[in-house]
């Protein structure tokens, strides 16, 4: 793996204020993400994995610490160098724009010339397999197709880092499998840095090169960092896969138990 840094999370903490009470979500998290890697953030629900993604995207600001991009620039607010794919299917697309114009959105905002926009949009329509559906509007698409639009829309904008927030969680199992495979193909094709959040251990091991496991919230931090050195496309039935699955499962189980005990006390 190339060891060129794509972004660095330095001692990030995040508190939310809810009902005048400080709620500590993340506690002193540091991570280095390398250029071109497929990085997974895995953890039980409520552990603040989405919060990390939002911090990287710049939708929210950290309470302490900072995130530094490859060029040395600190993250301040959202930017087109960090593209986000949201879990919510319909809500994040623009229903008044057809598929073509949804994918074109970032390019239009950047005021690229029409011909160039056309060329890029067509390229990604083909890559995500939506060539025949470009004139359709998002509400007319299936969940899987909507997520394809989201992915194409972000990739067309050519970001440094691709952030995905449980993008396949709302899809049926069959579609999810297909989408996972296609995402890996796209990632290898585009050589993008991918940060992928999920609570699904199988998904994490099927996709990621490195998997960080978070502790249960509140005050989540990093529990364990795994390297997955299996070749793609990954076979879920190999003994290495299952061994890793069991180890991570134990990690997560411990965290969930801790969480339940806390709630019962």
């Amino acid at each position: 793996m190339e060891q060129e840094v794509a972004l660095e999370i330095r001692n990030i903490s995040k508190n939310f204020v809810a009902d005048k009470k400080q709620e500590e979500v993340l506690d002193n998290i540091s991570l280095t993400i390398y250029r071109g890697e497929f990085f997974i953030i895995l953890g039980p629900s409520g552990c603040g994995k989405t919060t990390i993604l939002k911090l990287i995207a710049g939708f929210i600001d950290p309470t302490a610490g900072k995130i530094v991009m490859a060029n040395g620039q600190e993250v301040r607010g959202p930017g087109r160098d960090r593209g986000m794919v949201f879990q919510a299917l319909g809500e994040s697309l623009f229903p008044w724009r057809n598929v073509h114009r949804n994918i074109e959105f970032g390019l239009s905002m950047a005021k690229l010339p029409k011909l160039q926009r056309q060329r890029i949009v067509e390229e990604y329509l083909v890559k995500v397999g939506l060539r025949k559906h470009e004139k359709k509007y998002p509400p007319e698409l299936s969940g899987g197709m909507q997520q394809r639009v989201q992915i194409a829309r972000v990739l067309a904008n050519n970001p440094e880092v691709l952030l995905l927030d449980e993008p396949f969680a709302a899809l049926d199992a069959q579609t999810r499998k297909i989408m996972q495979r296609e995402l890996v193909t796209l990632w290898r094709d585009e050589r993008k840095t991918v940060i992928f959040v999920t609570h699904d251990i199988r998904e994490a091991i099927s996709l990621g090169q490195r998997v960080v496991v978070m502790t249960a919230g509140p005050r989540s931090c990093i529990k364990e960092l795994y390297e997955v050195k299996l070749p793609y496309p990954r076979d879920e039935t190999t003994s290495e896969f299952i061994l890793l699955l069991k180890r991570i499962e134990q990690d997560i189980e411990k965290e969930v138990k801790k969480l339940l005990e806390q709630q019962l006390l």
Binding site: G83, F86, S92, V154
Partner: protein
């Protein structure tokens, strides 16, 4: 043909027949069951009303003029009201500062019915068309404004976040997300405002006009011509029905991609 009909008018032909049958049945019931039970002065029959309409149309030659006059006042006021209310609503919804400045006036004045202001507006704007159009602007403005501002508040967080991380600046965010995402609320607001402008113009014409459907309805009483009164009343329903149908047609065609979720009714 059927498909196109449904697309434009939002109705199935089959259900359209049902609607026609129900109207014809109601007219028969009125003509042959209800009307014979009362005097013409108390409840004229549909045929008597039709005869009255003939008198107004061909002998007095006032019906078309009155319809035209009322409709013109309504449409001018409604359009101007929308032109003012939509941008103000968008600004109120988008900026806390503007909301704080405008809110007290909006929520105070929107409860003062236009009818309460007929006399005031006549003192300010005279007895001519100006006062009547201003009243319609007043009556439609608040409905559209409140709907628009509500619409801005209802935009999904994901849409805004997505647009920002795709590189939209504040101005682009406003014109490419806030405005199109608010169109369903504006569409419904304008539709409701049309109803209240009918209410206001009739009240105004009854009190202070020498033409229009409100004038016709109010003055028929003086001639003991209740048929004419009913002609005016039915014309109102008819004109309202037509304008609403045209508005729905706009929703099913040019505005369709914006108002998809609110155009069904």
């Amino acid at each position: 043909m059927r498909k196109k009909f449904r697309r434009v008018w939002g109705n199935n032909l089959k259900y359209m027949y049902l609607s026609i049958i129900s109207v014809v049945a109601a007219i028969f019931l009125w003509q042959f069951v209800l009307a014979p039970m009362f005097s013409t002065y108390f409840l004229p029959s549909p045929l008597a009303i039709l005869k009255g309409a003939g008198e107004l149309l061909f002998k007095k030659r006032t019906l078309l003029e009155y319809c035209f006059v009322s409709l013109r006042r309504i449409l001018i006021g409604w359009v101007i009201g929308s032109i003012f209310a939509i941008p103000i609503g968008l600004l109120i919804g988008s900026f806390k500062i503007i909301k704080s400045i405008a809110d007290p006036f909006v929520h105070f004045l929107s409860f003062v019915p236009a009818i309460a202001l007929i006399t005031v507006f006549m003192i300010w704007f005279g007895v001519g068309e100006m006062a009547k159009i201003m009243l319609i602007i007043y009556a439609t403005g608040f409905i559209i404004m409140i709907n628009t501002a509500t619409g801005v508040g209802a935009i999904e967080e994901e849409k805004i976040s997505a647009a920002k991380s795709l590189g939209a600046n504040r101005l682009q965010l406003f014109f490419h997300v806030t405005v199109p995402a608010t169109v369903p609320y504006i569409y419904v607001g304008m539709r409701l405002a049309m109803r209240s402008s009918f209410l206001v113009i009739i009240a105004t014409e009854m009190l202070a006009a020498s033409s229009g459907l409100g004038y016709l309805i109010w003055n028929s009483r003086l001639f003991f011509k209740t048929e004419w009164m009913y002609v005016g009343i039915l014309m109102l329903g008819f004109l309202g029905f037509i304008t609403d149908r045209l508005w729905r047609m706009a929703g099913n065609t040019v505005l369709k991609r914006y108002v998809r979720e609110v155009r069904r009714y």
